[in-house]
Amino acid sequence: MREILSPVNEAETAEMIREARAARRPIMIEGGDTRSGLGRPIAADRILSTRKLTGITLYEPAELVISARAGTPLAEIENTLRAKNQRLAFEPMDHRALFGTDGMPTIGAVAACNISGPRRIQTGAARDHLIGIRMVNGFGEIVKSGGRVMKNVTGLDLVKLCCGAHGTLGVFTEVTFKVLPEPETTSTLALHGLDDSKAIAALSAGLTSPFQITGAAHLPAGLESPEAEALTLLRLEGAPSSVDYRASALAKLLEAFGTTAVLAPDRATKLWSAVRDAHPLAEPRDAAIWRLSVAPSRGPAIVATVKRKLAARAFYDWGGGLVWLAVAAEGDAGAAAVRDALAEAGGSESGHATLIRAAEEMRGRINVFQPLAAPLMQISQGIKASFDPDHILNPGRMYAGV
């Protein structure tokens, strides 16, 4: 068991990191411990937990902004927002199903890992909604960037740089997000029985229409159960009359792909959480799980290329741009097959693959995050050193030396 440090405020967080730096003792940063399996294993004998850094520090519904200390449970944020008919529009994924964990996800980790969901295609990722941070860097200094207003180009945007850095640049102590109103209604249209490329073409037709699709996913045949039919989903949100209008316009637009059906609200809600949380691939538990971000139209070809080399189950979100892939956790867990397929589809510009779930031993041996071109790797290591020269915070979480 690792020793756990639980600072009660920002000043104590800074003090503990200064002490760790002086002792050259790396620490692993933890929020609710629901996603500590994300990334490369960390050689640290102590954990710094944000569990006591809690509480919403500012919520101005009329200004669409919320700030909270990093350890605040995501559920508390979401409940608070819901009470005012607002939400985090980027729809953060919950990793508990995939990782089989049972802690409470924290808002700080959502920011640190840039955790988004299906609505990312329309309204942006966590990184697009995070507008301010306070954090402690590897020097043990308190650093702030951004703020509580929607637009801000004052100096270098460290908010974006640190969002998705998986704690390698600093421990967030407080994060500020832009929030948006909850829509009055949601409606999900489904197409049945399409193969992957037809399905992605249908999603693309929806996404290039003026109808403001807020979710576009495809679950291939046999994914949820061996006999399950392929299901292609398009989500609309807004005022009831507007949603009705767009739903019928969209159904007409998609006629060439088959008959669309409006799903029952309960079923639709369940399906979107399943898509968001990669639920269809959670079992079997020993499979390795990959997450690929690709140019949407290339998704099906990349999956087909992988499947020619090894057995894989896959489904698509983001109109085909996000591919979830489950393969046997053997050898390199399919790393070469997956990344070769990306390269074949057009090199570094065609996308990237992250090994989301695999045993620790495997995550230590395989590139969990997409390998970078040498100059970008050098810059990334340089940036790490500029925040955390002694590699105290989540050392090596993303890459060797980062």
Binding site: E141, K151, G164, P210, G321, S350
Partner: protein
């Protein structure tokens, strides 16, 4: 006038000017190299026209490879570089140093790939902002960030400044709409980040590069997100007796969960100036005007407008005027987008760019007026109200050095006020030289040192756009 200090030029570089130009001439053809004093004058300033410096030379490469060769050479010679797009920066971000070479992307304006299926377009960064939308508009698409300078400004400059515009309330600013870049590092290395997929691999370098004001490298190509246009859009004019009432109405609309595509604000002086220029039908009897644009099908627009008008009524609205035709819509936006130019016809002005929490709009508008009046000057306000992004235009006479000093002092007070109420110094124009020293108001030494360390990773010798963004003393010490 010289309120803002420039770094002292390096005499040894100035003395080597002829050699440096000879070296550049080996890398690019004569039509890409500007050396005569007359022609260099065209590059001595930008949108912050009261400051100017002649660069050593200007290079206008035709390709990424040429940019790389020039960067490699200048790096080796230890010569400073200032990246330039169209030179419309209002913060002095593109103003050269006397011991620097300008690298401009003005000749790189090819559209490389239009990919509707993936909602992406790949372009060279010398393309103007408007040319992107013009390219895809016939097929019903658009590029969302729409700075008022969009006819002239380049994607390079938009990326440099993380530019915004009227329609960013709904669709986000540049950083939310850039998917990838090709960038030349200070030593000539070419890197590719991102592409037609979402969220580039590794650390979010793209997020750091957008808005970095030419401090990290020269961006030569970009992959941008394009969106399908709504079925239709309708701007509506709302006239109010006072600025305070209009400000309160904005806060109430956002607070009611309505996020229109655009909420633009003008006070009385701005209404008069813009109406005289554009004949857009702005209500001249109003103390303040909101232009609110909603989009969708005609029925969707009607439904949303009912709600907005309801709120406006409870805030004392006196005029509500919907655009009835494409021509009226064009006139309404022409008036708004030419606000700065139209103001320039009646007086010299400095354009501020602070951001405040929308709830503080009425208070700030009131204080702002007091500040400017206390300097004996006048102000016209046009701004992106929906996200609290103020653009007070402080009017003065640029031939009167005393008055310019006062205008700059008033501007500084206004930006400090923005920070004081929880906002920031700049929402879309960038820091440049203009707000460099005010960075100390928004950030403390640790904050700034962290930014400068990250910056130095890209450019250890501080050759790129030196003397901008960071307080001079802090940067010299780094």
């Amino acid at each position: 006038m010289s309120g803002i200090v420039f770094p002292t030029p390096d005499e040894t570089i100035l003395a080597r000017r002829a050699d440096i130009i000879a070296g550049l001439a080996k890398l690019v053809p004569p039509e890409c190299l500007v050396t005569s004093e007359d022609e260099r004058r065209a590059f001595e300033t930008d949108g912050l026209m009261s400051y100017r410096r002649l660069p050593l030379a200007v290079v206008l490469p035709r390709s990424t490879e040429e940019v790389a060769a020039v960067m490699r050479y200048l790096h080796q010679e230890g010569v400073k570089v200032v990246a330039r797009g169209a030179g419309t920066s209002l913060a002095g971000g593109a103003i050269p140093l006397e011991d620097s070479v300008i690298i401009g992307v003005g000749k790189m304006r090819r559209i490389l790939d239009v990919d509707y299926a993936n909602r992406a377009i790949k372009v060279e960064t010398g393309c103007t902002n408007l040319s992107i939308t013009d390219m895809v508009a016939p097929d019903g698409f658009f590029y969302a960030p729409d700075p008022s300078s969009q006819l002239a400004c380049t994607i390079a400059g938009n990326i440099g400044m993380n530019s915004g515009g009227a329609h960013c309330l709904k669709y986000g600013v540049t950083t939310n709409n850039v998917l990838g870049v090709k960038m030349v590092l200070v030593d000539g290395t070419i890197v590719d980040i991102g592409g037609a997929h979402l969220d580039a691999a590794g650390l979010d370098l793209l997020g750091l590069i957008v808005g970095s004001e030419g401090q990290l490298g020269i961006v030569t190509e970009a992959t941008l997100r394009i969106l399908r246009s709504a079925e239709s859009a309708r701007p509506v004019l709302f006239g109010f007796p006072t600025s305070e009432e209009a400000g309160a109405c904005v806060a109430a609309i956002i607070g009611a969960g309505i996020v229109p595509v655009a909420i633009e604000f003008m006070d009385k002086p701005a209404i008069e100036i813009c109406e005289a220029f554009a004949h857009a039908g702005y209500p001249l009897d109003a103390g303040a005007l909101l232009i609110i644009e909603v989009e969708g099908s005609a029925a969707e627009i009607d439904a949303e407008l009912v709600r907005i008008i309801e709120i406006a009524k409870s805030h004392g609205v006196t005029t509500v005027k919907e655009s009835k035709s494409a021509m009226e819509t064009a006139a309404i936006w022409k008036g708004r987008k030419s606000a700065f130019g139209a103001t320039g016809r009646i007086a010299d002005y400095i354009c501020m760019d602070g951001v405040i929490p929308t709830g503080r709009l009425p208070y700030v508008l009131h204080r702002l007026q007091e500040i400017v009046t206390s300097y004996g000057l006048r102000v016209a306000n046009v701004f992106h109200a929906g996200d609290g992004n103020l653009h007070p235009l402080i009017l003065y006479n640029c031939n009167d050095p005393e008055e310019q000093k006062k205008a700059e002092a008033a501007g500084e007070d206004i930006l400090k006020l923005c920070v004081e109420v929880g906002g920031c110094l700049t929402g879309e124009h960038g820091v440049g030289i203009e707000k460099r020293e005010l960075m100390n108001v928004q950030f403390n030494a640790e904050d700034l040192a962290q930014q400068m360390r990250a910056r130095a990773v890209f450019d250890e010798g501080w050759l790129l756009n030196r003397g901008k963004v960071f307080p001079l003393a802090a940067a010299e010490a780094a």
